[in-house]
C-alpha cells in the first residue's frame, strides 16, 4: 500500500520537474536585472600559471544556552591561505578568533529589541570582533521575522558571527595578502542585516586599496528559474546539453542593482569530475575592471584548489575553513557545563531555568525518544 | 710374547716414621723382585716414585740399589713425574737418576703453534712405543692436555702405551670427588695400554674409545688414608701385562708387606673419662702382634677435653702388645665443651685444602688470582714451598733465600721484584 503511495509521489514530482524548458533566471525583480540563458555565456576555465594566493574565510557559531529572551553563543571565524594546493603559513594575525556572544531581549521604544554583547576569548581578538553597538536589532525587523512572527533570538544572535567574518576578512586582506591575491568568503556577498553593509564596505575598501579581489562562494543556492527549476540545476542541464568543457564558468546571470548586494555573479564548475556547480560572486566594483584573462586566472586558481578527492569541485580552502570554524558538539558541551556551573555558583539557576524551560520542551521530547 | 710391569705411586720417603718408611721400601723392593721373577721386559712407573723431588738420601740410595739390580738384568725402567716428585723450580731426584741412566723419562715434547707435540720413546727390545704426560701439583698438568696434539699420537702405528699421572673424571671413586681430574676425552684414543697413576685405588675400567684404563694403586701407600684403605681390603700391587702387537693378558700382582688391623671407636655420648677407660680396655684386648694397627677415634665427647684421653698411652699399649706400628686417627674427634674449627677431610692434605677453601672468602682482596679456587690453589702451592725443610748441607741464609725465591716464583712476583 505504502509502496503505491510512494510511487505516486515520485511520479507526481517527476512530472513537476520539467527541465526540458529551462526558462530564464529568476531573482527578486527590482534588485536584479537577469540575462536570458545562453550557451554563449559558458566560458571555459583554462589552466594558467599564476602566483595569486587565495585566502578563505569562514565562520561558525553554536548556541550554548538559550531561552526566548536570551541566547549565549560561541562564535569562531577562521581563515587560511593557499597558493594553488599548498598552504601558506600566516604569521601576522591569529588564524582564528573566538568570542562568546550574549544576546538578550530588551524593551526599548515600546518594542522588543535583541541586543548582543561580545566577549572575546582572548584580548588578542578584541580588534577583530564587531562592535556591540552595531548589534541591536528589532525583533520585528522584517528581515529577521519568521513569517509574521517575531524574529527568533537564536537567529539574531548569529548575526554577530556574520559581522565578524566581514571584519576579520578586512584584517586578513590588510595583513596577509598582496596585490592580486583573492579573498573568498563562504557564502554570498549580500548584506542582509542592519549595519552589515558598513562592515562589507570597510572590507571592500581595504580590498580595493590593496587591489585584492574580494569574492564569495556559496555552498547552496535558493535561486530559481522562471519554470520553477533551481537556477543551478538549470545551468547544469544547459551545460550538459551544450557539452561544455570540463571546467567552466557561466556569466552573466544577472546584474545587481541593490546596494546591499554589490556583486557580479558567476556559476562555476571547478573540477572535471565535479557533480556540483556553485555560485561565485566577485565584488562588483572590482569585477567590472577585471579582464577575461584575469577572471580566468582567479577561477583557475580556484580550480587548482578544488581538486580535493573528498569534495571535488569545492575549494579545499573552504573545506578546511569550514572544519576549523565549526563549533563541535564536544566543545559545546564543555562550555555549556562551564556556563551552567557559573550560573549555579551565582545562585541564579532558578532565575535562568524559568526562561530556558519555556523553550526546551522539544529537547525534552527528543530526550524521551532517546 | 713380551711383558711389562705397570707400577705407580710408590711414594718412597713418604713417611717420617722409620717403620713405615721401611715397609714402603720393602714393598718397592718386593715389586721389583716380582718383576724379575715374571721376567718382564720393561717397567713403567706412572709417577710419584718418590714422595718429594728431593727425598731423603737414605731412601734414594736403597731405591737406586734395587733399581740398579733391575737394570743390570736388562730390564728398562720408564718413568714419568708425579705430582709429588716433581718441582718446577729446581731439579728433582728423578732428573738426576734419569741423567745417570738408571731409568728413562718418557715425557718429551714441545709447544708449537699452540699445540703440545709429544715424542714417542721406543723400547728397543719390544718395539713398544711409550709416551706420557707427567703429573703436577693440584692438577696443573690439565693445561698440557688441553693443548695436546692428540691426532699425531693417534696416528702413530705400533704397540703404544700412554702413561699419565692424573685422575680421570669418569673413573674417580666417589670418595675422591674433590680431587683434581681431567676428562678421559683429553687422552689420545686408540692406545693399546693406558698406564695411569695418582689415584691410590686399583682400577681397571673400560671406557668407550679407549679400551681399559688401569690404575695399579700404591705398592704400600703414602698416607694414613692409604693405610686405612689397605686395612679395609684395598689391594696393593701392580699390573703385569703380556703383549705382542696387542695386550694379551693382564694380571695383578700383590705387594702386601704386612698385616693390618683397623679398629674404630666412637666416643659419642661419652665423657672423656669413660671414653678413655673403654679405649684402654678395648685396645688391650686387640690381637695386634706383627700387625700395622690403625686406631680411629671419632665422635663428640659429651664432656671433658679430647686431650684427657692419653693417646700416647694407647699407642704404647699397642706397641707393647706386638704391633709393628700404631697410628691413632683423631681427625673426627671433638668435644662439646671445646669446639675448634671443624674441617672435613680424609687426610692432612685434604684438610688443608678444605680449610683454605672454606676460609678464603674471609680474606678481602681485590686481586682475582687471590680469590676463590685460584686463591686456594695458590695458597696450597705456597704452603708446599714453605713446608720444605732446610737441607742438612744448606746454610741458613741460603735456605731463607731459597724459600724467598721459590715463594716469589710461586706467587708470580719474580719479575715485579726485579
Amino acid at each position: 500500500m505504502i509502496g503505491e503511495v510512494v510511487k505516486k509521489v515520485i511520479k507526481n514530482l517527476d512530472g513537476m520537474i520539467r527541465d526540458s524548458e529551462l526558462g530564464e533566471p529568476f531573482l527578486s525583480s527590482h534588485n536584479y536585472r537577469t540575462h536570458p540563458f545562453s550557451v554563449e555565456n559558458f566560458k571555459p576555465i583554462c589552466l594558467v600559471k599564476s602566483d595569486r594566493k587565495l585566502a578563505f574565510v569562514d565562520g561558525g557559531n553554536s548556541e550554548l544556552l538559550s531561552a526566548p529572551n536570551f541566547s549565549i553563543q560561541l562564535n569562531r571565524v577562521y581563515f587560511n591561505i593557499f597558493e594553488g594546493r599548498s598552504r601558506i603559513q600566516s604569521s601576522n594575525i591569529p588564524q582564528a578568533i573566538e568570542f562568546f556572544s550574549a544576546t538578550f531581549a530588551v524593551f526599548k521604544n515600546n518594542k522588543i529589541f535583541f541586543d548582543t554583547s561580545i566577549f572575546p576569548v582572548s584580548d588578542k581578538f578584541d580588534k577583530f570582533v564587531p562592535d556591540e553597538s552595531d548589534l541591536s536589532f528589532s525583533s520585528m525587523d522584517r528581515r529577521l521575522m519568521v513569517g509574521s512572527s517575531r524574529a527568533d533570538i537564536s537567529r539574531v544572535a548569529s548575526i554577530a558571527r556574520r559581522f565578524a567574518e566581514w571584519k576579520f576578512s578586512r584584517y586578513v586582506i590588510e595583513n596577509e595578502l598582496e596585490k592580486g591575491d583573492v579573498l573568498v568568503m563562504d557564502g554570498t556577498l549580500r548584506t542582509a542585516f542592519v549595519n552589515e553593509s558598513d562592515y562589507a564596505k570597510e572590507a571592500y575598501r581595504v580590498s580595493k586599496k590593496k587591489s585584492i579581489v574580494y569574492s564569495g562562494l556559496s555552498k547552496t543556492s535558493q535561486l530559481f528559474t522562471t519554470t520553477g527549476l533551481s537556477l543551478l540545476g538549470a545551468i547544469r542541464k544547459l551545460s550538459e546539453d551544450s557539452r561544455v568543457g570540463p571546467l567552466w564558468y557561466y556569466h552573466p546571470i544577472a546584474d545587481s542593482l541593490s546596494p546591499e548586494h554589490e556583486a557580479a555573479f558567476f556559476i562555476v564548475k571547478l573540477h572535471e569530475n565535479a557533480q556540483r556547480v556553485f555560485r561565485y560572486e566577485i565584488y562588483e566594483e572590482q569585477a567590472k575592471f577585471l579582464t577575461l584573462g584575469e577572471i580566468n586566472e582567479v577561477l583557475c586558481q580556484l580550480c587548482i584548489n578544488s581538486c580535493d578527492a573528498s569534495f571535488p569541485g569545492y575549494p579545499y580552502g573552504l573545506i578546511d575553513a569550514d572544519a576549523n570554524a565549526r563549533i563541535r558538539y564536544e566543545e559545546l558541551e564543555t562550555y555549556r557545563v562551564m556556563l551552567l556551573s557559573e550560573v549555579s555558583k551565582l545562585g541564579s539557576w532558578p532565575k535562568f531555568s524559568r526562561h530556558i524551560e519555556s523553550k526546551d520542551a522539544h529537547d525534552i521530547l527528543n530526550m524521551l525518544r532517546g | 710374547m713380551y711383558k711389562f710391569a705397570h707400577i705407580a705411586d710408590c711414594h718412597l720417603g713418604a713417611f717420617r716414621d722409620p717403620v713405615l718408611r721401611e715397609l714402603s721400601l720393602k714393598a718397592f723392593q718386593k715389586a721389583l723382585n716380582l718383576c724379575i721373577e715374571e721376567q718382564v721386559d720393561f717397567i713403567i712407573i706412572s709417577g710419584d716414585l718418590f714422595n718429594s723431588n728431593i727425598p731423603d738420601m737414605g731412601i734414594v740410595n736403597q731405591a737406586v740399589i734395587t733399581m740398579k739390580e733391575i737394570r743390570d738384568k736388562g730390564i728398562y725402567i720408564y718413568v714419568i713425574y708425579g705430582s709429588h716428585d716433581f718441582s718446577p723450580n729446581e731439579t728433582s731426584i728423578v732428573d738426576i737418576l734419569s741423567s745417570a741412566g738408571l731409568f728413562q723419562k718418557i715425557v718429551k715434547g714441545e709447544v708449537a703453534d699452540g699445540k703440545l707435540k709429544l715424542k714417542f720413546f721406543k723400547d728397543q727390545k719390544t718395539e713398544a712405543k711409550l709416551v706420557g704426560i707427567s703429573g703436577r701439583t693440584l692438577g696443573l698438568e690439565k693445561e698440557y692436555y688441553e693443548i695436546l696434539d692428540r691426532e699425531s699420537l693417534e696416528k702413530e702405528k705400533g704397540f703404544k702405551i700412554f702413561a699419565f699421572h692424573t685422575a680421570l673424571d669418569e673413573l674417580k671413586p666417589a670418595f675422591l670427588a674433590q680431587m683434581e681430574s681431567i676428562p678421559v676425552s683429553n687422552l689420545p684414543k686408540g692406545f693399546d695400554y693406558y698406564a695411569g697413576g695418582h689415584v691410590h685405588v686399583k682400577m681397571e675400567k673400560k671406557l668407550q674409545g679407549y679400551g681399559t684404563i688401569r690404575y695399579p694403586g700404591t705398592l704400600f701407600g703414602y698416607s694414613f688414608r692409604d693405610l686405612e684403605q689397605n686395612a679395609d681390603g684395598e689391594k696393593q700391587g701392580f699390573f703385569i701385562v703380556s703383549f705382542n702387537h696387542m695386550v694379551k693378558d693382564v694380571h695383578f700382582v700383590e705387594t702386601k708387606v704386612c698385616e693390618y688391623l683397623k679398629f674404630e671407636y666412637d666416643v659419642s655420648n661419652k665423657n672423656s673419662t669413660k671414653a678413655k677407660e673403654e679405649l684402654v680396655d678395648k685396645v688391650k684386648k686387640l690381637s695386634v702382634k706383627g700387625k700395622l694397627v690403625l686406631l680411629k677415634v671419632s665422635g663428640e665427647l659429651s664432656g671433658g677435653k679430647t686431650s684427657d684421653i692419653d693417646f700416647t698411652q694407647l699407642k704404647e699399649i699397642l706397641l707393647q702388645n706386638g704391633a709393628i706400628y700404631a697410628n691413632i686417627n683423631r681427625n673426627a674427634l671433638s668435644s662439646k665443651e671445646y669446639s675448634g674449627i671443624r674441617v672435613e677431610g680424609k687426610d692432612v692434605h685434604e684438610i688443608e685444602i678444605n680449610l683454605l677453601r672454606e676460609n678464603i672468602g674471609n680474606v678481602k682482596v681485590k686481586e682475582p688470582k687471590l680469590k676463590g679456587e685460584k686463591g686456594t690453589n695458590l695458597a696450597v702451592n705456597l704452603l708446599n714451598v714453605l713446608i720444605q725443610d732446610k737441607k742438612t748441607t744448606e746454610e741458613r741464609k741460603d735456605y731463607v733465600e731459597r724459600m724467598m725465591v721459590m715463594s716469589l716464583k710461586t706467587l708470580g712476583l719474580t719479575e715485579a721484584m726485579e
Partner: protein, 507 residues
C-alpha cells in the same frame, strides 16, 4: 627535540597520540612526553587510522582510484587529514622511576626515546646481559641487564613459539655469565645447541676454559663424558620423573634399604628382597629397562644410551655440583637421551644442589655461596600441570616453589606457558616474552607478568625474531629488547678479554 606526535585524547592507560606525518610510529615504540623534570615514557600498544574525511568519502575515492576514475583528484594536505593514531600507556616517570599515577599534560608533544632517558638502566653488580632496549623495531643504544644475584634465584621464564630466538637468547645470557664465574648454571641441553660442537658456541668464549664444562655421551676432546654411576641414583631422584605406583615406590625403597647404593644393580640382576613379589621385581626391571635403558646381558650391566654405568662415573654428580658451586657453567648434552633419562640426570644433580644449599643455609653459609640456576628446555615436561598431577611433584617444581630461599633458581624455557600451574608461574619473577601467535599462551604470560601487560597482546603477537619483552619484578617497567645474535655478542666478549699467555711445557 624532534617531535613525533602529540597527545590528543584518551584516558589513563589509553593515551591517544596523533602521529606527526612521516614519523612512522610503531607498535611497541617508546615515546617520551617531556614535562620538565617529570618526563614520562609512554609505550605504544595499538595503532589505527584517523581521518577528517568520512568513511563513505574515503571508500568512494578509493573506489574511483582503483577503477581508474579518479584522475586529477587527490586528498589535499593528506598529512593533516589522514593520519595515524597511537594508543599508548604511560610506563614510567623517569625522575622517580615509578609508574606514573597522573596523566601527562593534555596536548603534550611526544618525541622518540633517547639514550639519555634510560640512564637509570645501570649495569647491576652481577649482570646478565639480555640485549639492547628496543623501541618498536628500532634499537636504542642502551644495554639491558638483569641482576643475576636477584633474577636467577627468583626464576626466569623464557617463552615463545618456535623459531623466535629462545636458544639464541639463552646463549647470549650464558655467554654473559661465563665471563664472570659468579653463578653456577646447569644446562640440560636437549638439542645440543649451546656448546658449539659444530660451529660457534659457548666453547668459543674466552673464559670457556676456566668456566665452562661440557658433558656428553660422545664428548669431543677435552670435554667430559656424561656418565653417571648407578650408585648415584637415589629413589627420591625418580620422583616426578618416572611414574611408579605406590607398591612400586615401596619396593624401590625396600631395595634401597636392603642393598644400599647398589639397589638398581640388584633390581637389574634380579636379586630378591623379602616382601617383594617376583611380579613386582619384573615390573621394576622393565621400568628400569624402558626408562633408563639399563639391562643385563651376559651377566654384565649394559646401558644402551651409555649414560648410566655401574663401573664408572661415581663422582660425576659430585664433580658437577662442585663446579656449580665454583661458579661454572655446566652443559649436559642430553640430545641422545630419552626424556626420562635426561630428567633423571637433572634430578640427581638438582637434588644434590638443593640439599647442599639447604644445608648451607642452616649453617649460615649461604651468603658465601654463588647462586645456582638450572636451565631446562620444554619446561612443561617437569612443570606442566598434568605432569605434576600424574607424576606428583619433582625437584624442579620444588625448586620453582622453594628454591629462592636457598639461592637456587630455574631458567625455564617453553612454548606453552599456559600448562604451567599458576602458582609456579607466579613464582617466576622474570618473564622474557618473545613472539607468540597463540592467544592462550599470550594470555597466560600477560596474566602472570610483573607489570600490567594487558594492553600488549598485539605487541607480543607482532614480536619479530630476536625481539622480546622483559617483564620482571627487578625491572622498572616491561622493557622491550632486541637480543643480539649470539655470534656477534660472542665477538664483543672476546675483545674485552686479555689474551692468555702461552703454555710452557715442563716435562
Amino acid at each position: 627535540m624532534s617531535v613525533c606526535g602529540q597527545i590528543i585524547a584518551g584516558q589513563f592507560g589509553k593515551i591517544l597520540i596523533r602521529e606527526k606525518s612521516g614519523e612512522k610510529i610503531e607498535l611497541g615504540d617508546l615515546l617520551v612526553v617531556e614535562e620538565g623534570e617529570n618526563s614520562v615514557i609512554l609505550q605504544v600498544y595499538d595503532l589505527f587510522y584517523g581521518s577528517q574525511i568520512s568513511q563513505v568519502a574515503r571508500e568512494l575515492i578509493s573506489g574511483m582510484k582503483l577503477e581508474g576514475l579518479g584522475a586529477g583528484m587527490e586528498f589535499l594536505e593528506p598529512q593533516l587529514r589522514n593520519y595515524i593514531l597511537a594508543e599508548s600507556k604511560a610506563v614510567l616517570r623517569i625522575s622517580e622511576q615509578k609508574t606514573p599515577k597522573m596523566l601527562p599534560d593534555f596536548f603534550g608533544t611526544v618525541r622518540r626515546i633517547e639514550k639519555k632517558d634510560l640512564e637509570f638502566l645501570s649495569i647491576p653488580e652481577k649482570p646478565i646481559y639480555l640485549g639492547k632496549v628496543r623501541s618498536g623495531s628500532k634499537i636504542v643504544g642502551v644495554d639491558t641487564y638483569l641482576n643475576g644475584l636477584d633474577a636467577l634465584s627468583h626464576h626466569i621464564l623464557i617463552s615463545s613459539t618456535t623459531g623466535r630466538g629462545k636458544s639464541n637468547l639463552v646463549k647470549v645470557m650464558l655467554c654473559s655469565v661465563l665471563g664472570q664465574g659468579a653463578f653456577g648454571i646447569l644446562v640440560l641441553d636437549a638439542h645440543d645447541e649451546y656448546y658449539g660442537r659444530t660451529g660457534k658456541g659457548l666453547k668459543d668464549h674466552p673464559k670457556a676454559r676456566d668456566n665452562l664444562r661440557y658433558y656428553s655421551t660422545n664428548p669431543p676432546a677435552g670435554t667430559n663424558t656424561l656418565m653417571v654411576n648407578l650408585k648415584s641414583i637415589e629413589p627420591r631422584h625418580l620422583e616426578g620423573v618416572i611414574h611408579l605406583t605406590d607398591a612400586q615406590q615401596h619396593a624401590v625403597r625396600l631395595y634401597r634399604a636392603t642393598y644400599g647404593d647398589e639397589w638398581i644393580e640388584s633390581i637389574v640382576r634380579g636379586k630378591k628382597v623379602e616382601g617383594i613379589s617376583p611380579i613386582t621385581l619384573t615390573v621394576l626391571q622393565r621400568i628400569v629397562r624402558v626408562s633408563l635403558s639399563i639391562y643385563l646381558e651376559d651377566d654384565e650391566i649394559i646401558c644402551r644410551n651409555r649414560v648410566f654405568s655401574n663401573a664408572a662415573g661415581e663422582s660425576t654428580a659430585k664433580d658437577i655440583v662442585k663446579n656449580l658451586e665454583n661458579g661454572k657453567t655446566i652443559i649436559l648434552d642430553t640430545s641422545k637421551l630419552g626424556d626420562e633419562a635426561e630428567l633423571l640426570i637433572g634430578s640427581i644433580i638438582a637434588n644434590e644442589v638443593f640439599y647442599r644449599y639447604q644445608g648451607y643455609k642452616s649453617d649460615g653459609k649461604l651468603a658465601e655461596k654463588v647462586p645456582v640456576s638450572i636451565v631446562i628446555e620444554e619446561a612443561p615436561r617437569v612443570l606442566g600441570a598434568d605432569k605434576l598431577a600424574s607424576l606428583g611433584g619433582n625437584i624442579y617444581s620444588k625448586i620453582a616453589r622453594e628454591g629462592r630461599k636457598f639461592n637456587i633458581g630455574l631458567i625455564a624455557i617453553t612454548q606453552l606457558a599456559s600448562v604451567i600451574p599458576p602458582d609456579i608461574l607466579a613464582n617466576m619473577n622474570t618473564k622474557i616474552i618473545m613472539g607468540n601467535e597463540l592467544l592462550s599462551e599470550r594470555h597466560a604470560l600477560i596474566g602472570s607478568a610483573a607489570q600490567d601487560l594487558s594492553d600488549d597482546d598485539r605487541n607480543i603477537a607482532s614480536l619479530d625474531r630476536g625481539e622480546a619483552i622483559v617483564s620482571s619484578i627487578f625491572t622498572k617497567f616491561a622493557v622491550p629488547i632486541k637480543v643480539p645474535l649470539f655470534e656477534d655478542y660472542l665477538e664483543s666478549c672476546s675483545k674485552s678479554v686479555e689474551k692468555r699467555s702461552n703454555t710452557v711445557f715442563v716435562g
